[in-house]
C-alpha cells in the first residue's frame, strides 16, 4: 500500500484492528461496523479572487446490531477504544428498546474485486497548488474582461465495512473536482471537471471552455416558450440521469409501485442504453456498497427497453434474489440507489449534434431541477449559463434562460443522436455519471 501520509488518513491495518475488536466485543447476534474517513480541502473563488478556503479531517464509525430480532444503529465521529465501547453500547441500547420485527439481513462474505481509485497526487494536493490552478482561471478570465467564480476541491477518503458473518472490505479513493462560472456584464458561462487524479484536471482546457461559453452568452434575448428540438450538453444529461435514478431505478420504488420502470417494455428511444457499473474506472468506482455487498453491473435500459433494477439486502430479500450491491448506510428507508451511472455514446461528434436542426435550442446545463410527477418522470427546472438558439444547424445567438417542464422518458423517446464522446459528471451528493451529449426531437419550455 502506498503512503497515506499526505492526506492524513488512518492506516488500513489500524482500521481493520478497530473493526475486528469491535465485532469481537459485540454481544449481538449480528454486528456490522462501517468506517468512513476523509481528508478534504476546497478552494472557492469569486470575482477573480479566493474568498473561501477550507479543509477538513473527519471520520464516521457506524455500528448496526441485530439482537433478538431487534435492530439498533448508532454512529460517532471518533475511532478509539472508548468510542468503540460507546457507539456499540448505544446501538445495543436502541435495539433493546425496540419491539421485535423484520430484520434486514446482513450479507455473508463475498470477494469484492480490487478497483484502483486512488491518486497520490490528489491525496497530496496542497493549498498552494489549488491557489495556482484558481489563479490561472482567474487571470485568463480577467484578461478577457470577465470575472471567474467557482470551487476547486481535492478529497482523499476510505471506506471499510465488516460484519460478524465474515464480511471485511476496504477501499480508498481520491477525487478532484473543479467547477467555474465566468461572468461578463451581460451573461455567463459554465464548465466543470472531475477526476480521480488531480493531474487530469486541465486548467487551460477548463478556462478555455468556460470563457468561450461566457463570451458567446452575452446579451441573451428572450425567446417564446414552447416545444423545441434541443441539444443537451453532458451537464444536463447527467442531471436527467440522476433524477431517473432517484425516481425509478430502485427496486424499492418498483416494489412500492412508485417507479416508471416497466420491465420488458420500451420506455425510451431505441438508441438509449443506461447501466450502473461500480467497477468501471472511467467513472468514480467503488467495489462494494454500504452493506458490504460487491457491486454488480446492472443494465437498466437497453435499446430503449427497461431491463433491470438495483437491489439492496432488503429489496433483494423481498424479491427472493441476491442484492446487486446498491445498498445505502443503515438505517435506510430510502432503498437502494444507482450511483455509478453510464449512458452509451453514439457516433456523432458533439459539435455536429446541432447540424440537422432547423430551429432548436442548445442547452449547457440545468438548474434547480425538481420532480413534478414521479411516475410520469416529469421534472421542472431552468436552463443556466449557456442557452443558445440553433438555426439551420448553427448556434446563432444566446437566448434568455427558460423554464422547462418535461417528462424525461418522453424526451428520451425522441432521441435523435448521441455524441461519440462521453464526459464524467460527479454528482452534487455522491456517485457520478458518464454520459454523452444528446439531440432530442422535442423538449417543452413553459416560461
Amino acid at each position: 500500500m502506498k503512503s497515506l501520509q499526505t492526506a492524513r488518513l488512518t492506516d488500513a491495518e489500524a482500521i481493520k484492528q478497530f473493526t475486528d475488536d469491535l465485532l469481537e466485543r459485540s454481544p449481538a447476534d449480528q454486528t456490522e461496523v462501517m468506517v468512513t474517513e476523509w481528508d478534504s480541502a476546497l478552494t472557492r473563488f469569486a470575482n477573480n479572487g479566493i474568498h473561501q478556503n477550507v479543509a477538513e479531517r473527519n471520520i464516521s464509525v457506524r455500528v448496526r446490531v441485530v439482537k433478538d430480532g431487534r435492530t439498533g444503529v448508532a454512529s460517532q465521529n471518533q475511532m478509539n477504544p472508548d468510542a468503540a465501547v460507546n457507539v456499540l453500547d448505544r446501538a445495543l441500547a436502541i435495539a433493546a428498546l425496540q419491539p421485535a420485527g423484520d430484520v434486514v439481513p446482513m450479507p455473508g462474505p463475498a470477494p469484492a474485486p480490487e478497483v484502483e481509485a486512488w491518486s497520490e497526487a490528489t491525496a497530496g494536493a496542497s493549498p498552494e497548488q489549488r491557489a495556482d490552478f484558481v489563479q490561472a482561471v482567474c487571470a485568463q478570465a480577467g484578461r478577457a474582461g470577465l470575472k471567474a467564480f467557482g470551487a476547486y476541491s481535492t478529497t482523499a477518503a476510505q471506506l471499510a465495512i465488516a460484519n460478524s458473518l465474515g464480511v471485511s472490505h476496504h477501499h480508498r479513493s481520491t477525487q478532484a473536482a473543479v467547477n467555474s462560472v465566468v461572468m461578463g456584464e451581460a451573461g455567463s458561462g459554465y464548465a466543470d471537471r472531475s477526476a480521480i487524479d488531480v493531474a487530469d484536471l486541465d486548467r487551460e482546457e477548463l478556462a478555455a471552455e468556460v470563457i468561450d461559453k461566457a463570451a458567446r452568452n452575452q446579451h441573451a434575448q428572450p425567446i417564446e416558450p414552447g416545444v423545441y428540438e434541443v441539444v443537451l450538453e453532458e451537464y444536463a444529461v447527467a442531471e436527467m440521469l440522476e433524477f431517473l435514478s432517484f425516481m425509478g431505478f430502485s427496486a424499492l420504488a418498483a416494489q412500492e409501485e412508485r417507479s416508471f420502470m416497466r420491465l420488458g417494455e420500451r420506455i425510451t428511444g431505441e438508441p438509449v442504453a443506461i447501466w450502473d457499473d461500480g467497477l468501471d474506472r472511467s467513472g468514480l468506482p467503488a467495489p462494494f456498497d454500504f452493506e458490504g455487498v460487491p457491486k454488480q453491473r446492472v443494465d437498466l435500459i437497453k435499446n430503449g427497453v427497461a431491463t433491470g433494477l438495483v437491489y439492496d439486502q432488503l429489496t433483494a430479500t423481498r424479491a427472493g434474489r441476491p442484492s446487486t450491491g446498491h445498498g445505502l448506510p443503515a438505517p435506510n428507508a430510502e432503498g437502494p440507489f444507482a450511483v455509478n451511472l453510464f449512458m452509451a455514446p453514439g457516433s456523432v461528434a458533439k459539435a455536429q449534434l446541432a447540424s440537422g436542426i432547423k430551429r432548436g435550442i442548445w442547452i449547457t446545463r440545468f438548474w434547480y431541477v425538481r420532480i413534478v410527477q414521479p411516475k410520469a418522470s416529469v421534472i421542472t427546472g431552468m436552463t443556466r449559463e449557456g442557452t443558445f438558439l440553433i438555426e439551420d444547424g448553427k448556434l446563432t445567438r444566446p437566448v434568455k434562460d427558460l423554464r422547462f417542464t418535461e417528462s424525461i422518458l418522453k424526451a428520451l423517446e425522441g432521441t435523435q443522436a448521441l455524441s461519440q464522446t462521453t464526459k464524467l459528471q460527479a454528482s452534487e451528493y455522491f456517485g457520478a455519471s458518464r454520459v454523452p451529449a444528446v439531440h432530442l426531437k422535442a423538449f417543452t419550455f413553459t416560461s
Binding site: L42, F45, A46, N47, N48, G49, I50, H51, Q52, N53, V54, A55, E56, R57, N58, I59, T71, G72, V73, A74, Q76, N77, N86, V87, R90, I94, L97, Q98, G101, P127, E128, A131, D132, Q135, C138, A151, S153, N179, S180, V181, E257, R258, A330, P331, A333, I371, V372, Q373, P374, K375, V378, T380, M382, R403, T405, E406, E428, T444, T446, S447
Partner: protein
C-alpha cells in the same frame, strides 16, 4: 472546551493571524422512522470536533478536525494559516470585518421536556397510532412517519475577546400517506412536506402537532387525489396555505436578500440575486400588505439562537417594509462593504464548515384577513396546500411550485378537489399581486430543515412565520 479554544486562538496569533475564531461543537441526533405499521429504523448519531477560521494578510483560511486533542489543535491551526496564505496569492480584496465583536454569555433553547429523556417507546407509539389512522382508508399503499431530535452544544471564541456557549435543541415529526395506481402516485403529508415539521424546542413541540388527529384525513386525501381532476391551466386568483406561503418566502425573499449572494460569493453554485444594492430602499418588492422580517428571536423558530457563528447577537431586522425592499441578511464581512453592522445571520452546518449567511426566521408579518374571508371574496381561484415541488432560477426571479393538494374556488366557495396543482411567476410581480394575508390566529412558524447552500455543501435549519395569503392573476396548472 475553554482550554482548547484558548490554545487554538493563541496558536493562530503566534502563527501570524490578524484575526481568528474557533468553534467547538458536540452534536447528537436521534432519528426514528415508522413505515407501514412497523418501526423501520432508529439511529443515534454523535458528531464532535472543532474548526478554526483565520485571517492572515487580509485573506481567509479555515481548517477543522474531529480530533479534540491538543496536538491536533496545533496541526489544524497550522493548516488554516497555510491555507489563508495560499488564499492571499489570489486575493480580490482585503477582508474587513468592521467593528470588533466581543459577545459573552450563555444561551439555551427554552424547552419543557428534553426530547432525549423521552422513552423511545412513547415516540414509537405516537407514530404507530398515526400510522394506523392513515391506514384506515383503503387504498393507502405506503404509510410513513418520522421524528428527529437534535441537541448541539457549541462554544465560540475569537481573538477579539468573544466567548459564547450555547445549547440548542430541535424537535420534529411528520407523517405521510401515499396512494398509488398503475398510472399515478399521490401523497399527502402533515404538518408539512420534506419529511417533517421541526422547531426549536423540546418534546412538547411534538405533542402539540397531534399527528394522530390529522392522520386519517391525509390518508383519505391521498386516495381521493388519485381520481381527482387535474388542476386546470389558466390565470387565476391563488390562495396558498401557510406552509406553502412559508416556502414561497424562503425561496423568493429569504435567498435573494442574502448579501453574500448579491456580492457573487455563491455565484458558481446557488447563484446570485436580483435584489442588488442599488434597489435597496427603491424596489417595490411587494404590495403594502407584504412586510417581511428576519427575526432570530422568534419562539420555536429553527433560526432562533443566542449568537450567530461570528458571535453577533440574535436580532430582528426588516427586509421588506410594507412592500418596500429595505434590508439584507448580512455577515460582518459583507455588511462592512455597505458600511453597516452585521445583523447576525452567519451560521455553519457544524464544526467542519465555515459560517455562511443563512436565513434565521424570515417571517411574513400577519395581516388582517383569514383563509375563510379570502375564499369568500374569490370568484375564480385555486387554493393550494402543502408543497410537492419547488424550483426557482439562480437570481430568484422565475419560480414554479407544485402542491400536494388543491381545491377549486368558485363564487366564494371551495369546490372540487384537484391534483397535480402548480403555479408559476416572477418574484416582484407575484408579491405585488398579494392582496391579503391571514391574521395572527392563522400565523404559524414553519421549520425548514433542508436549506442547501455553499461549497462544500451545507444544510441549514431555518424557519418562516407565515399565514395563508392570496395572490391575484397568477398562472396555474403548468403541466407537461
Amino acid at each position: 472546551m475553554k482550554d482548547l479554544a484558548d490554545a487554538a486562538l493563541n496558536a493562530a496569533q503566534l502563527k501570524g493571524a490578524a484575526y481568528a475564531d474557533v468553534r467547538i461543537s458536540h452534536h447528537v441526533q436521534q432519528n426514528l422512522t415508522v413505515k407501514n405499521g412497523a418501526l423501520a429504523s432508529v439511529s443515534d448519531d454523535a458528531n464532535e470536533g472543532f474548526g478554526v477560521r483565520v485571517i492572515v494578510d487580509g485573506a481567509w483560511g479555515f481548517a477543522g478536525s474531529s480530533r479534540l486533542e491538543p496536538a491536533e489543535v496545533e496541526v489544524v491551526v497550522e493548516r488554516a494559516v497555510r491555507i489563508a496564505k495560499a488564499s492571499g496569492r489570489v486575493r480580490a480584496g482585503r477582508v474587513e470585518l468592521g467593528a470588533p465583536v466581543t459577545s459573552k454569555g450563555r444561551y439555551r433553547t427554552p424547552l419543557e421536556r428534553d426530547p432525549f429523556g423521552v422513552p423511545l417507546s412513547e415516540k414509537v407509539d405516537l407514530l404507530l397510532h398515526a400510522d394506523a389512522a392513515m391506514g384506515a382508508t383503503r387504498g393507502v399503499t405506503i404509510r410513513e412517519g418520522s421524528m428527529e431530535f437534535i441537541r448541539e452544544t457549541k462554544v465560540f471564541a475569537s481573538t477579539e475577546g468573544a466567548f459564547t456557549e450555547q445549547e440548542l435543541f430541535e424537535s420534529g415529526a411528520g407523517i405521510e400517506a401515499t396512494a398509488t395506481s398503475p398510472e399515478d402516485v399521490q401523497n399527502r403529508s402533515y404538518p408539512n412536506s420534506f419529511g417533517r415539521h421541526q422547531g426549536a424546542g423540546g418534546y412538547e413541540y411534538i405533542a402539540a402537532l397531534e399527528l394522530d388527529r390529522h392522520a386519517g384525513r391525509i390518508g383519505e386525501e391521498a386516495v381521493a387525489l388519485l381520481t381527482a381532476p387535474q388542476c386546470p391551466s389558466g390565470v387565476k386568483t391563488l390562495i396558498l396555505d401557510a406552509s406553502q406561503t412559508a416556502l414561497q418566502i424562503h425561496e423568493s425573499c429569504g435567498h435573494p436578500t442574502e448579501l453574500d449572494r448579491v456580492f457573487g460569493m455563491e455565484a458558481a453554485y446557488a447563484g446570485t440575486s436580483f435584489m442588488t444594492p442599488e434597489k435597496l430602499n427603491q424596489l417595490r418588492y411587494g404590495s403594502p400588505v407584504v412586510t417581511i422580517t428576519a427575526d432570530a428571536l422568534t419562539p420555536t423558530g429553527l433560526g432562533t439562537f443566542g449568537w450567530d457563528d461570528e458571535g453577533v447577537p440574535a436580532q430582528r431586522t426588516f427586509l421588506v417594509d410594507k412592500g418596500l425592499f429595505v434590508g439584507y441578511l448580512t455577515s460582518r464581512e459583507t455588511a462592512s462593504v455597505l458600511g453597516q453592522q452585521s445583523n447576525g445571520t452567519m451560521r455553519a452546518d457544524g464544526w467542519n464548515r465555515i459560517p455562511l449567511i443563512r436565513m434565521t426566521n424570515v417571517n411574513l408579518q400577519p395581516g388582517a384577513s383569514s383563509l375563510e374571508q379570502m375564499v369568500s371574496e374569490t370568484n375564480d381561484g385555486i387554493y393550494m396546500e402543502t408543497n410537492r415541488s419547488w424550483s426557482i432560477d439562480d437570481k430568484r426571479l422565475n419560480f414554479q411550485f407544485g402542491t400536494q393538494l388543491a381545491y377549486e374556488i368558485r363564487d366564494g366557495k371551495r369546490g372540487r378537489l384537484l391534483k397535480n396543482a402548480t403555479y408559476a411567476g416572477i418574484t416582484p410581480e407575484f408579491w405585488n399581486s398579494c392582496d391579503a394575508v391571514g391574521g395572527p390566529s392563522e400565523w404559524k412558524v414553519w421549520g425548514l430543515a433542508n436549506c442547501g447552500k455553499g461549497q462544500p455543501p451545507q444544510v441549514a435549519h431555518v424557519a418562516h412565520g407565515a399565514a395563508p395569503a392570496r395572490f391575484q392573476r397568477v398562472r396555474v396548472g403548468i403541466l407537461k
